[in-house]
């Protein structure tokens, strides 16, 4: 039986109060949303914050809003509050209709119980994972502690002076592929960044959030001609974090691909956009040869480490297969159309 360490539990009632607390307490505080990622880290002694700032009572983080209520760049999108549960993402009719890839990626996360507790913001901000760090104190002592805890060497690549822990969010690759925007509140006000810019390739600190900043919501633009797909590799049909996640989104204009996004998760500390693959697809008719070439580009571009489930060489091989399949799957979908059928119903959805 693992026990939680002692901490003070703070329950702000507003976003500004939460931001204020975070800014004031600094590194001593951790945000608590669904807790499905944080609490195991605390129980294993990977983190020992003096304060947990619980977000459950912060109204600004809840709800799914369509454009009429939300401040969206071009006024025609959908805003998902950071506290939206992952289970809710799998159920939302408006999401299923317009951004089915999000509900699909959400449905592949963890288990039904964990999806009920886990949140969108929590999954996007999920700590990076590594077989050498998500372990008990005894195990870490026996292995010799690593960079990500209190040690000074990466056990996965001892020659490197960085941490290679893998980004393990299933939603992040899909959000980046869809060009989602992330709204962040902080001590110096709000800012909106592309989902891609939320991450950097550093296992110790893979989020670009500054001290005191909180992810408020995720804004998705209404798709025009975009079809997307996400494929997840894991040993079992449930429960497991991704060993590999491949998200693709193609904006099609007639037969031609106007814009392509190919994003790979769980092979680095951040989701990787594979520019080489995107270039092969963008501005071209996506023939079988082009899909295959894009998949080859992914295979060449990634360098998985031996730090999550399944061997790295295998994951790299499957990345090629999954990229090709994800592209094929995306192309099989009828692109969501703008206009009457595609119009989002204004109003709060939950």
């Amino acid at each position: 039986m693992l026990h939680l360490p002692s901490f003070r539990y703070l329950a702000p009632r507003s976003l500004s109060e939460a931001v204020g607390l975070l800014a004031e307490l600094g590194a001593e505080a951790q945000l608590l949303a669904g807790g499905t990622d944080l609490l195991p880290l605390l129980k294993r002694g990977q983190l020992s914050p003096r304060y947990l700032v619980a977000l459950a009572g912060v109204p600004e983080l809840s709800g799914i809003r369509t454009a009429a209520e939300a401040t969206v760049r071009d006024g025609s999108g959908l805003t998902l509050g950071a506290l939206t549960s992952i289970a809710e993402l799998t159920r939302q009719p408006v999401l299923r209709r317009h951004f089915p890839v999000i509900g699909h990626a959400a449905s592949l996360i963890a288990t039904p119980t964990l999806r009920s507790m886990g949140t969108l913001g929590g999954n996007l901000c999920l700590d990076t994972r590594c077989t050498y760090v998500n372990r008990s104190p005894l195990w870490r002592e026996a292995a010799g502690d690593c960079l990500k805890c209190t040690g000074d060497v990466c056990r996965v690549a001892p020659g490197d002076d960085r941490c290679w822990a893998a980004v393990s969010s299933d939603l992040a690759p899909a959000m980046i592929a869809l060009d989602a925007q992330i709204r962040i509140a902080g001590p110096r006000g709000e800012r909106v960044i592309p989902a891609e810019a939320l991450y950097r390739d550093d296992g110790l600190s893979h989020l670009t959030l500054s001290a005191g900043e909180i992810v408020v919501d995720v804004q998705l633009l209404r798709p025009t001609g975009v079809c997307a797909s996400y494929m997840k590799l894991r040993p079992r049909a449930s429960f497991d974090f991704p060993s590999l996640g491949v998200a693709v989104a193609l904006r099609m204009a007639k037969d031609e691909c106007e814009n392509a996004r190919v994003v790979v998760g769980a092979v680095a500390s951040r989701p990787l956009r594979i520019a080489e693959a995107e270039v092969i697809l963008t501005g071209h008719v996506p023939t079988a040869e082009r899909l295959s070439a894009a998949a080859d580009a992914v295979h060449r571009a990634i360098r998985p480490m031996d730090n999550v489930d399944l061997p790295p060489g295998y994951r790299r091989q499957v990345a090629r297969v999954f990229t090709e399949r994800a592209l094929q799957h995306a192309l099989r979908q009828v692109p969501a159309r703008a206009g009457a059928n595609g119009a989002l119903t204004p109003g709060r959805q939950n």
């Binding site: 039986m1 077989t131 195990w139 449930s238 974090f241 060489g313």
Partner: protein, 798 residues
């Protein structure tokens, strides 16, 4: 899940009928008290400090700072438990806490008791252990070639724990004369039981010197013996009570360090002490499936008749003996009880390594050679142009026969199992005929209905059932047997209720308590239904006889005209009730009887005339056959088992629902070992000692399972019953491997068959190389000279 049962014998009112288990309600409503739920006043909580080194000498242990923490009541170490113990008389190599040396990461070094678990956890971190780190041996090869400190000082050279070499019949002659010889290497990865309930125990020591341990154990009797030895108490002053148990599968089949340490701490503190393991600690407690190297060589005629078999095994034992000597023998015991073999050679060895000790996981030492043998038969059939069903049917062991290695076979439904499973699955229509990416595989197996010999040599019964009735009509049944979820309490109540014509609710059970019930050796080797069942029948029949005699005397009716039925004494022919059960009991008691009866069971003498003959004999063998249908993604190597048919001859199904539950559980566990689960290591460390990292299949990974009950009526089994707890697991892993081959034409000769292995074999196939993934060499081990054993009269001959 579907099932096809055979026709019921109409005379039974309980046996053969589908019923809920007697403990179903408390379990599904959360009222069952597992060891961790038991309430105690003034309870202390114990934690075990575990070694961070795989192999090290302990120079010193300093608990001063831990003892100074408020709330800490005691710290003990190996010095407090100097007397070694072990489940086998030949392997007394364990201490509750390490003495002088630690032998794997997780080996317990000290135990601490405190007012609460958090305090114990915190203070445990203040115990300072000074280690002298030694070279660790993490594989069989490393252990065999080690030049440093041996893992056990008194062990044999090169960390070899046990070596066996036995020969039955003219093996060399068989191979020389063979039209076809097939040889292959296999590897079977180790696995944990992953019982849902983590181990827990509470110990209490009374001021007058009596120790009681409540524990999630499969074998209270053996734990009693080990505690008495380790703690130097008379056995009669040690009571062990098995609490409600959330699964065992062989992981709770001997005294374990947390039990011994909790008991010592209770003796020192005078207060009840609880020690419960985390999931990670369960992986260190282990006693799971031995990783095993298997080399097989088979001789056959052109028509597929097997003329000889040579089995070589090397077991990666982990750090302690546990059941390992028995496991070693088991790795060679059962092939001749499945297929008719006129000549058989078995060489086996177990090697110590610096890993958690392996032990008797479900199937105990037999799934590994079974995997190899059933895959080898698939290959042999292909070599000879036969189908996998035909080659098996050609070589079936005969009913009422004796094997070349002196095993007595009584009832045998293997032919029916194979035919039923092939028929139900459409095996012959599908085999080699499905599109690429889909395949079917077949395998067969057998298992014991209880080991015929006890672990420590004695002439006592293996089990005893006491029945006591009272004038209200209630029947108390006491037996040391332990229900670990397999349903033995339900079997016990059903057998007694059937004989006495009562309903299950009228039977009160006192089981799994060394103080309340006579010895039953425990829930291992699939022995309980067969042995406890026979004892229960004898006891119940004895009581029935007393009651019917008394009633017959009173009513001037011959006893043979009376039966017990529906809570009444009735006339056999008309089934008309003539006296209620309570009235009959009162009449019997008034006549001077004590309303008590006992029954015992010991298997007949079955061991052959050679050293090691104690492992393998059983009063009856169960038989299984399995077909697995898989879908294999030829681009990713992912294998999805999509449908499983499993036919099992467990004798008469006492409760078909319980039998199917065991079959489904066995299929589940077999699929886990075939495709996902492995107790693997990264350097000296368990690769992932959590339920997230250890890949037991989820509900979504589980295919449809068709349970086919093949009911033989075993003449020595209770109402004809045999075992079902372990057998159905055995054919599953080889059936999966054979199905993968059928689907994509690659052989993965080791389990688990993970997608990366399949893909590597597929890559080789694409390059025109041999489409196989599996071991290429066998450990370099020197087996002892062969002991040549004369086959028994009537054994199969060339």
């Amino acid at each position: 899940m579907s099932s096809t049962g055979s026709t019921r014998t109409p005379d039974f009112t309980i046996i053969g009928h589908r019923r809920s288990k007697v403990d179903a309600w408390p379990k599904v409503t959360g009222r069952a008290n597992y060891a961790d739920d038991l309430p105690f006043a003034h309870l202390l909580y114990a934690r075990l400090l575990r070694s961070p080194h795989a192999h090290a000498r302990i120079r010193a242990i300093d608990a001063t700072r831990a003892l100074a923490v408020p709330g800490v009541t005691a710290v003990i170490s190996g010095a407090d438990l100097p007397v070694p113990y072990g489940i086998l008389p030949v392997s007394q190599d364990e201490h509750g806490l390490a003495v002088d040396k630690v032998r794997f990461v997780g080996d317990p070094v000290a135990a601490i008791a405190a007012e609460d678990e958090e305090t114990a956890d915190h203070a445990m971190g203040l115990i300072v252990v000074d280690y002298d780190v030694l070279t660790a041996c993490m594989t069989v090869d490393e252990a065999l070639s080690a030049t440093g400190d041996p893992i056990h000082a008194n062990g044999k050279a090169n960390n070899v724990h046990k070596r066996v070499a036995l020969e039955f019949g003219a093996v060399e002659a068989a191979f020389e004369a063979a039209a076809h010889v097939r040889e292959d290497l296999f590897f079977y990865g180790g696995s944990n039981h992953l019982a849902l309930e983590e181990h827990a125990a509470v110990a209490e020591y009374s001021p007058d010197g009596r120790l009681t341990l409540w524990s999630s154990t499969q074998t209270p009797h053996y734990v009693q013996r080990a505690l008495a030895k380790a703690l130097q108490l008379p056995e009669r002053r040690v009571r062990v009570v098995a609490s409600v148990i959330g699964g065992g599968f062989g992981g709770k089949t001997e005294a374990l360090p947390h039990e011994v340490a909790a008991a010592r701490l209770a003796m020192i503190t005078g207060r009840p002490v609880k020690c419960r393991l985390s999931r990670e600690e369960v992986f260190y407690s282990h006693r799971g499936r031995h990783p095993m190297h298997v080399q097989l060589r088979a001789a056959a005629r052109v028509d597929g008749t097997l003329t000889g078999l040579h089995v070589r095994t090397v077991l990666d034992g982990g750090a302690y003996g546990s059941y390992g000597v028995a496991s070693t023998y088991y790795s060679g015991a059962l092939p001749p009880a499945t297929y008719r073999l006129p000549a058989y050679r078995f060489e086996g060895a177990r090697v110590f390594t610096n890993k958690p000790p392996c032990g008797p996981k479900r199937g105990h030492g037999t799934p590994q050679p079974r995997f190899g043998l059933e895959v080898l038969l698939d290959k042999l059939a292909e070599d000879l142009g036969l189908d996998p069903l035909a080659i098996r049917l050609k070589n079936l062991v005969a009913e009422d026969s004796v094997t070349v290695n002196h095993l007595r076979v009584t009832s045998c439904g293997l032919r029916a199992c194979l035919e039923r499973v092939a028929d139900a699955s459409g095996f012959l229509d599908k085999h080699r005929r499905l599109p690429r990416g889909e395949g079917v595989g077949l395998a067969a197996s057998c298992y014991l209905s209880g080991a015929a010999l006890p672990i420590y040599w004695n002439g006592l019964p293996h089990t005893t059932v006491h029945i006591q009735a009272d004038r209200t009509g209630t029947v108390h049944v006491a037996c040391g047997a332990t229900d670990i979820g397999q349903g033995s309490d339900s079997v016990l109540a059903s057998l007694v209720a059937e004989v006495l014509g009562l309903d299950l609710v009228d039977i009160q059970l006192d089981t799994a308590d060394t103080a309340l019930a006579a010895v039953d050796l425990g829930s291992y080797s699939s022995r309980v239904t067969f042995m406890m069942g026979n004892a229960a029948l004898r006891a119940a029949e004895n009581l029935r006889e007393q009651v019917l005699c008394a009633v017959g005397r009173e009513l001037h009716l011959p006893t043979h005209r009376l039966i017990l039925h529906s809570g009444q004494v009735a006339l056999r022919d008309e089934r008309s009730p003539i006296m209620s059960w309570p009235d009959a009991l009162q009449l019997t008691q008034a006549s001077g009887a004590v309303l008590a009866a006992s029954g015992t069971y010991a298997p007949p003498p079955l061991a052959g005339p050679y050293k090691g003959a104690g492992v393998g004999p059983s009063p009856a063998y169960s038989y299984s056959a399995c077909v697995v249908h898989v879908n294999v993604d030829a681009e990713t190597g992912q294998v999805v088992p999509s449908e499983v048919w499993l036919a099992h001859d467990g004798g008469r199904a006492l409760n078909p629902t319980q039998v199917e539950g065991q079959i489904e559980g066995g299929v589940y566990m077999g699929l886990g070992e075939a495709l996902w689960e492995e107790q693997s290591f990264r350097g000296p460390l368990h690769a992932g000692p959590t339920a997230l990292d250890y890949k037991t299949p989820t509900a979504l990974d589980m295919p449809i399972v068709h349970c086919l009950l093949v009911e033989t009526d075993d003449r020595e089994g209770p109402f004809g019953a045999k075992e079902v707890g372990q057998g159905p697991l055995l054919p599953v892993p080889p059936a999966v491997a054979n199905a993968v081959y059928d689907a994509v034409g690659v052989r993965v000769d080791e389990v688990p068959i993970t997608p990366d292995k399949v893909l590597r074999a597929l890559d080789r196939q694409a390059r025109g190389q041999p489409a196989r993934h599996g071991p290429r060499r066998f450990p370099d081990i020197a087996y002892p000279p062969l002991t040549v054993v004369e086959p028994p009269a009537g054994a199969p001959q060339l």
